[in-house]
Symmetry: C2
Subunit: 338 residues, 2 copies
């Protein structure tokens, strides 16, 4: 039977070999405190030769605090999670933090277990990427006293967040469409009741229309989930000819559905329908025509998340916004003086 027991090399082994105390070895290996450069060199050589790996658990225990940030990602394929993590990871490493990334299952039971496992590490903070947590989980996190931050999503209850300013985003988008001559526009995929983001987007949409004296048609806000299928169903839902000239799609994946739905219905984009896609991930570049989009700066969100943590800015009700940028693609038609 294969013996799985492994003689781990500890700091004591190194100390013995170097005729030093474990304390000195620890200091050297962590570049903390004072030590002689020659001894340091020796110690590092020995560590290397013995194949030493720090036991981070022991270190965490000893220091009563880790430099680990727990990151929660929804299992549902969100293709921008990568971008946020990319942003975080760079900044995190620069500052000596580690990320513990965990996919949050959809099943509630499993979610609970996941979060519990996360909390039982001595985490510095929990970052939630585009996650809409349920109340019990929210409370679970709260009792843990760990700092929390919601990225790319806004939650209620004063949980600090880093996201786009969804209200302003809608204003920019509506203005953009207006400037291109559009007067009748629909908002797809934001009619969910609960999530703050959906609410804010709706309100931003309505208010922006009002600023242009466009009367708001409740039928033009439709779709209570974020999915490809929703996009596919959009055009059949409204029927042709469409009662509007442009749609604002709440996510790239929806936009792709709309594009395909248009093709199925024999509509030309952007001639028969203009589309602007919220998110602006690489998905928007894979379509023909290329999707005009309101690009969120996900990578920056990730970076700012770490910065905020470092600067101790994660207090209740903090809301940090990153700018969006409207990237012209090929899905917006300019209407002559309508």
């Amino acid at each position: 039977m294969y013996n799985r027991y492994i003689m781990t090399v500890t700091i004591k082994d190194i100390a013995k070999k170097a005729n030093l105390s474990p304390a000195s070895v620890s200091r050297i290996l962590n570049n903390r405190g004072r030590f002689n450069d020659d001894t340091a060199k020796k110690v590092r050589t020995i560590a290397q030769s013995l194949g030493y790996f720090k036991n981070q658990s022991a270190a965490d225990l000893s220091q009563k605090q880790s430099r680990v940030i727990g990151v929660l990602i929804p299992t549902a394929h969100t293709n921008f999670a990568d971008e946020i993590i990319k942003g975080m990871q760079n900044k995190a490493y620069e500052n000596g933090y580690e990320l513990l990334i965990t996919f949050l299952g959809n099943d509630h039971q499993q979610q609970m277990q996941t979060v519990k496992a996360l909390l039982s590490r001595q985490l510095l903070a929990i970052f939630m990427l585009a996650v809409d947590i349920t109340l019990p989980i929210h409370q679970l996190i709260k009792t843990s006293n760990i700092q929390v931050l919601s990225i790319s999503n806004q939650l209620n209850d004063g949980i600090p967040s880093i996201s786009s300013d969804n209200y302003d985003m809608m204003s920019q988008i509506v203005n953009y469409l207006y400037d291109h001559g559009h007067r009748q526009m629909a908002l797809i995929g934001s009619s969910m009741i609960e999530p703050v983001v959906a609410t804010v987007r709706r309100q931003g949409f309505i208010d922006a229309l009002a600023k242009h004296n466009i009367k708001y048609n409740p039928d033009f806000i439709w779709g209570n989930n974020i999915s490809y299928e929703l996009g596919l169903q959009t055009i059949p839902h409204y029927g042709t000819p469409l009662p509007f000239t442009a749609v604002i799609s709440s996510a790239d994946i929806i936009s792709i559905g709309i594009l395909n739905g248009a093709k199925d219905a024999g509509l030309q984009v952007p001639n028969d329908l203009s589309i602007i896609s919220i998110d602006g991930t690489e998905l928007t570049q894979l379509t023909r025509p290329i999707l005009t989009n309101a690009k969120q700066n996900f990578q920056l969100m990730g970076e700012l998340a770490i910065t905020a943590l470092i600067n101790n800015q994660l207090s209740t009700n903090t809301a940090i916004y990153t700018d969006i940028e409207i990237i012209a693609g090929q899905t917006i038609r300019t209407l002559k003086d309508s």
Copy 2:
């Protein structure tokens, strides 16, 4: 100044309140050993009320082994990583394992740091998803004595792997195309020298052609990376009319590039060109026409990974294969008796 110090609740606190020893509390909370049901109930209530969270670091330290599996994912957007993780996560939780997911940056320096951070946890194993590691990193992992497994990718040096049988996959694909009347076919995105997978696919392709007495044309194996751009360039590279009737694309993202490149060149898919896409992620369902694909069973790979770990099957040279399935889409034309 806000005080970030947090009074953590330990099992000693619980013990005190319950008039028990820490040992008993530990046993109860872990469902290990013997204890009285009533005491257990009491302890659990107290734990709850105090907001106790296990300090996993301490537990890991004490037990000299954790139940944490380190998972490495390339930062480059691989859209099937999610599927593998989904598979792993379920099985892992069922068996009391935790996953520590880490994105592996592209910069070598950062990769090193990432892997080192991983290794300094008392990991049970490291699973690498579609990762092609560099030699130094490989050696780093080796010295750690931690079990390693490569998922969806085969590496050399006897590292155990779970993947599709890429040789057989090519045979199935070629047969499929042959059965649909194709005689001239190209393989795109597998001419890299180093990765085992590319080598195996090339050989499988060549051998499969030979079985049908098709003479192999070296020009028809092209493209040494996996990217959308490679797909886009494919048709310009060969020029029209194309010297083949079908392409095998080594990844979905390449396939999308080819589709768009075809559109740009005024070619009709599948009339002017048939495409079969290796991987079969959801991306294949987002295109028009829908991509016919050789679907790899990523979720199963994830599940099997955990199973293999449990059954202690991760010995050198182990290679576990999962079946592929050819999913008919709309990108394969049937040629009349050519």
